[in-house]
């Protein structure tokens, strides 16, 4: 157990080894070492890029060569992969390595944090966040969830994921006790830790709730549990209702939310008292934020008409970065984010997501870019044409060469870090395209439409 006082001292000890403002890659786990690093860096003007410690080596090397970080902060067990870098400090089973890059890229003054936008399809695209973004979002979350220092959230999501990080940020701000564990719901140790330390809340993506449903957690005695939050995609109506009913009957809170890394983390929430009445809704904008719906250039004011969802607020990130030179860029989004999601609002002003503008899926909470997936598969395998589509939690990969089926699945699974079960490969004679060569995805939907 580490107190806030001890956390402060631990941060100082770590930071003493870094002489100036620079870029650090922090490979995260839900552990003390990882939190000490993150908190130490952002409160001392050092910019971390948070990555999952299970990132595949090739993608990591690619990011290192693109962004040239001055240091790496990572679990001890991964240090042996970086023999060229110097060990400078270590504590809590984490090591600080100094890289051998002579000059780092220039960093915009207000840049505080870098996050990956998606579950590494090897893409070096990052979201740039400012101190103001992080603080504003944390404050808003504390407000709408009514967080105080009596809260005891248990970690269930990666820290390198904006939702997982927002749980840590908001509870650090509230001075709460954070129960850090890397164990999953399927491990006894998770539940014994939960009960021993009387966890009061946790967050989850739709898949998390599928697991809890399978475990029939409604029957578990979880007297300390007060609040469950959900984001990272839409829960099935059936499951949403089941969880909302469980919460109501047991005097617990179930709060559905919506957000994106481009908005630091959270943009909206469905108040607990509406969780049964407005199933499928993402709720209302968080304190300090504002939603609007647009179609081309004009704003939609009437209820039940779909348009692109736009969010405005102090938590809208600065912008993206695709290369080292982008780190010096300033505030490009200027507090206004085109979410890329299609939505509508009802007569009471509650919003519902109805579709996506961009081509990506949420698989077990992780954002996976479909165009990028196609690209890397085509580059890796010469003898095939490929199209990627599907629904959340299930990507359909259409290929023209049956012999490569197993290799394709293994490749995409390794690259994204997702279990093979997320991918369904179908062999077709040829990928349907129009005259200009664009893939006609609507011709492929028949393969899964009955399952949706």
């Amino acid at each position: 157990m580490v107190t806030y006082g001890e956390l402060h001292s631990a941060k100082q000890r770590l930071i003493a080894n870094i002489r100036e403002r620079c870029l650090v890659f922090s490979l995260c786990t839900n552990s003390v070492g990882s939190v000490v690093g993150y908190a130490g860096f952002i409160t001392n003007n050092i910019v971390p890029l948070l990555l999952n410690s299970n990132i595949d080596y090739e993608s990591l090397q690619n990011l290192i060569s693109v962004y040239k970080p001055s240091y790496l902060w990572l679990p001890d067990c991964l240090v042996e992969k970086f023999t060229k870098f110097e060990c400078v400090y270590g504590e809590f089973n984490y090591t600080l390595l100094r890289t051998n890059f002579k000059d780092g890229y220039k960093l915009f003054d207000e840049l505080a944090l870098l996050m990956a936008t998606s579950g590494s399809t090897g893409s070096p695209k990052l979201v740039r966040q400012s101190h103001k973004n992080i603080e504003a979002n944390a404050k808003s979350i504390v407000k709408y969830l009514g967080l105080d220092n009596a809260e005891r959230p248990i970690t269930t999501l990666p820290m390198s994921y904006s939702y997982g990080l927002s749980i840590i940020n908001s509870h650090l701000l509230a001075g709460a006790t954070i129960l850090l564990t890397n164990k999953s719901f399927f491990e006894k140790e998770f539940w014994s830790f939960f009960k021993e330390h009387q966890a009061t809340s946790f967050g989850g993506v739709p898949y998390t709730y599928e697991i809890l449903d399978k475990l029939r957690f409604y029957r578990m005695e979880l007297t300390s549990l007060k609040t469950m939050t959900q984001a990272g995609g839409r829960l099935s109506a059936k499951l949403h209702e089941k969880i909302a009913k469980y919460a109501k009957e047991n005097d617990k809170n179930f709060i559905v939310m919506y957000g994106q890394t481009e908005a630091t983390a959270r943009m909206s929430y469905l108040p607990r008292e509406k969780s049964l009445e407005k199933i499928g809704s993402i709720g209302i904008a968080i304190p300090g934020g504002k939603f609007s719906l647009i179609h081309e250039d004009y704003q939609i004011m009437e209820p039940n008409i779909a348009g692109e969802l736009v969010y405005e607020g102090p938590n809208v990130a600065l912008g993206y970065a695709s290369c080292g030179e982008d780190l010096v860029k300033g505030d490009e989004f200027r507090g206004r984010l085109l979410t890329g999601d299609m939505a509508k609002k009802d007569e009471d002003g509650y919003y519902y997501i109805v579709g996506r503008k961009k081509r990506f899926l949420k698989i077990f909470g992780t954002r996976i870019d479909l165009d990028k997936s196609e690209e890397i598969i085509r580059v890796q395998f010469n003898d095939l044409d490929c199209a990627c589509s599907g629904i959340d939690d299930k990507m359909y990969i259409f290929i023209t060469n049956e012999a490569l089926r197993h290799q394709v699945i293994k490749f995409i699974s390794d690259k994204t870090g997702l279990n093979q079960i997320a991918f369904n490969v179908k062999t077709i004679k040829e990928v349907p395209r129009n005259d200009s060569g664009k893939i006609l995805y609507h011709k492929l939907t028949k393969y899964w439409i009955s399952r949706a």
Binding site: F186, E187, E210, K214, L215, R216, R219, L418, I421, A422
Partner: protein
């Protein structure tokens, strides 16, 4: 099919492994047997043997060998 064959097949399907590799498998011993793989495996076993596994058993199901012991509680004889 014998119960052992059905059991082995469930692992082969849910975890995308070869029948010859299942004997020593344990939760998290291979990348396919993560939380997601575990979910799939439990669902497949329930379907194949027409049973509903208790939460305790889902949590205790830590390996191919342990799983056999657990299934005997559900009248599955190997």
């Amino acid at each position: 099919m014998t119960n052992l064959e059905k059991y082995t097949n469930a692992f082969v399907e849910a975890l995308n492994v070869k029948a010859s590799e299942v004997e020593d498998l344990a939760y998290q011993s291979i990348s396919e047997w993560d939380s997601v793989g575990h979910m799939a495996l439990m669902a497949t076993l329930e379907e194949v043997f027409d049973i509903m596994l208790d939460t305790e058993d889902v949590l205790a199901f830590s390996s191919f060998k342990k799983g056999k012991e657990i299934l005997t509680k559900y009248n599955v004889k190997f």
